[in-house]
Symmetry: C2
Subunit: 257 residues, 2 copies
């Protein structure tokens, strides 16, 4: 049986506030076995952009990334947020290594073509080098991946962290029994979005289709779950959607397998 | 005989302007064999600080690093400058990996004690993990190191790039025949600072002492050369002080061995 690897994807909100970051680092450090972290940082990027007089434009939750915004996200995701996490994990005894897709060429993407909307320097993932990442992980290193990739022609591209986590999990499924945890503001996929106690413990494909048809699962949850089921198709053992505060706790969140 | 490793240290001025950066990346990519790059980024840090209304204070060429300035250098050195170099080298076929001292715990430092001057979040290097770096290098990876370290207790520390390059070269001298190239604005150590043709081709310890005593070598060159001779004492094969444009060219710059 393949060794287990836990991949945690955590959004900007958690890693940007000192108290929730400290809690996350402690919980992540306590996870047993091999692991990998993918983080966001959107709120800090928006804040820095605002301080620099760079306007933030979002379309469907995606950031329009012109030259000035690319500088901002490269600084915030690759520098400020990533290195804070790495230094914090090192202090917690985790041998973390911060990476973007450009580092060791682990994740390549292609600049999204401008159609109705020109997203600018935004990348869609085309290839994850799972072999290179597995060599790093097997050396006892814990990769901490910022939501930036590169196109192989010298351009950094702003890239969705959920997609990167899913693609990384899929690529590593050849090497490990991968458990992918998406941290979310709610404790899983809820039947009633205002009631955390209605989290669905286990979601299968048929039930998902049914809940989607009834409009119970809607909005931003749909791309997240489509991404989750795609990683299962790619060989990932299970996907868990839960609160960051519950990443180490069994019996919380929604399990997709 | 040990395999050769070339370590290049390049200052902020070169890596911050697109044209000199492009030239450096091409020249560095063309260097044969195993290699490692240490870069600065001070000018960009000062620029970003100014845009954010953070005042820059320098004492003896060292940046006073308060909380706000630490955020700036973490973003600029670890994010903007480092990732631009990494993406550029990847495009040139070099499998670069950006790192700070915190990543893989490769370089630790201790916060400089506040005496007459409180430098703030500035670190003095205490330990380089040459074994870990050698494993990375032997895997075909080219480390690209930003001038940031960590204290092992979760703090990033702003650290002098020359010192980091020297300490890294010294730690790797157990693994390789290390050639350390310090890129400088002039083509080496000059007998007449206004005449590039007066570069001393080869500088030995006795001549250095003599030229220092006569005041021909003075100012900021002295800590650079003291650092260079210290790395020779630590087992580095040769140190070259030259212009960035001449890093691949024999017969340029000043060789210390």
């Amino acid at each position: 049986m393949a060794e287990q690897l836990t991949i945690v994807k955590v959004g900007g909100k958690i890693v940007e506030a000192p108290d929730t970051l400290a809690r996350l680092l402690a919980d992540f450090a306590a996870l047993p076995g091999k692991k990998l972290l993918v983080h966001g940082g959107g709120r800090s990027a928006t804040q820095l952009a605002s301080r620099l007089g760079v306007e933030t434009h979002m379309v469907d939750g995606r950031r329009i990334t012109d030259d000035a915004m690319l500088e901002v996200v490269t600084m915030v995701y690759g520098g400020l947020v990533n290195k804070r996490i790495v230094a914090g994990l090192q202090a917690a005894g985790v041998n973390a290594m911060g990476m973007t897709g450009a580092d060791m060429d682990i994740i390549r993407s292609v600049k999204r073509p401008a159609r109705e909307i020109d997203y600018g320097w935004v990348g869609d993932v085309t290839r994850v080098d799972g072999d290179a990442l597995a060599r790093v992980i097997n050396d006892g290193i814990v990769p901490v991946i910022a939501p930036l990739t590169h196109d192989g022609h010298g351009h950094i591209l702003n890239t969705n962290a959920d997609t990167m986590a899913g693609a990384t999990a899929s690529a590593l499924a050849r090497h490990y029994a991968v458990r992918l945890i998406f941290c979310f503001e709610k404790d899983g996929v809820l039947l009633d979005e205002n009631d955390d106690s209605t989290a669905i413990p286990h979601l299968e494909r048929n039930r998902y289709a049914d809940l989607k048809a009834k409009g119970i699962i809607a909005g931003g949850m749909i791309p997240k779950l489509d991404n989750a089921f795609a990683t299962i198709d790619a060989g990932v053992s299970e996907v868990i959607i839960t609160k960051a505060a519950n990443i180490g706790k069994p019996g919380h969140g929604t399990v997709i397998s």
